[in-house]
Symmetry: C2
Subunit: 210 residues, 2 copies
């Protein structure tokens, strides 16, 4: 599973790192349009000139923010997947565990990609590809965990069934992100994980019986 994209268009000097850190926090908490570059510079303890020397434009900071957030999420996810072992069911459940841990620390307002998408109308905006890219990647992850990437392990299921089940898992996962961000009810990731477990047990049972 390669970590595609993110060729890092910007050299991350110490100041640039502080800018990106401040921007990430502010963009996520208050929204992209609501945060000005002056505020980002002030919070990073940096002058506006430095900010524009490093990033060139606010738009570029937005792209870098999203790409960086995606990268950090995938790193957290990779750790959970590694700890889960080779069984498809365990690996799928590990995704929900990873999301629960991630959201507890960085997800008080739900999915940063979905939130950014709400503020970006232009589909040709470079951030748009980062956003939809992550969602596509997550869908491929779910279906891949159940099908192709499962290898010859017990619990692997047929491709068409992996596609269908992967999409359902995707819906549960996205729903949990929203429910968490809007505090619809407590512990949505646990709820989603439990449902995923039931689904996998049925599918795995059927696969084992086949």
């Amino acid at each position: 599973m390669e970590t595609t994209g993110t060729p890092r268009r910007v050299t991350l000097t110490p100041a640039a790192r502080r800018i990106l850190g401040a921007a990430a926090r502010l963009f996520y908490e208050r929204g992209i349009h609501a945060v000005g570059v002056d505020l980002i510079a002030a919070e990073a303890g940096v002058t506006k000139k430095t900010l524009y020397d490093r990033f060139g434009s606010k738009e570029q900071i937005v792209v870098e923010y999203l790409a960086d957030r995606d990268e950090r999420w995938r790193a957290v996810l990779a750790r959970h997947l590694e700890a889960a072992g080779p069984e498809p069911a365990a690996r799928v459940l590990a995704v929900f565990d990873a999301s629960r841990a991630w959201s507890a620390e960085h997800g008080a307002k739900g999915c940063g990609m979905v939130n950014a998408h709400a503020e970006i109308s232009d589909p040709s905006h470079p951030a748009h590809a980062v956003i939809t890219g992550q969602k596509q990647w997550m869908l491929t992850l779910f279906t891949g965990l159940l099908g192709d990437d499962a290898g010859d392990v017990a619990g692997r299921i047929a491709p068409e069934e992996a596609g269908r089940l992967g999409r359902i898992l995707m819906l549960l996962h996205e729903g949990a992100l929203v429910a968490h961000g809007l505090r619809v009810f407590a512990d949505p990731f646990v709820q989603a994980r439990e449902e995923a477990r039931t689904l996998l047990a049925a599918a795995g049972g059927a696969a084992a019986a086949r």
Copy 2:
């Protein structure tokens, strides 16, 4: 099922109606912060003075936009529920049908409430209550359709099970809204509806067997 809230803080003169219509379209398509009052007034064919005479502030237009969108969604939903008849399972599936129809016409960018929430950081903002109110109402709807509101019809299930299943349906529904808005895959409402049907069949079967 009462349509609570929305006491309409504003007298809807013809001009005000055009303002609200233009604001609704622009806010949803481009985001709230990205749209200025000058643009709203211009699109509505109205002067800024009229706009401020009717609504008093942009914030008020935002609140009215969300409350109105919520109201119109509930009207569409009510029609679908009415056509579905008294059986809980049919009524739950009707929610997904309603969302599919609604999203095909007004949902190209996903859930307007979730998108607005992404732009509003202040929890004391009057729009915040409208947003979380709708989500809570939807959760109550799902659990109610399966439990209390089901009356003495066949297919009614135990309260704790209605709560659990209602939350799962909520996750599927929110996930489908996101998947639709970000075009993660085709026809997410159909996918969610199919899964809901499977879940309801299992729960209803268990209830019937009890």
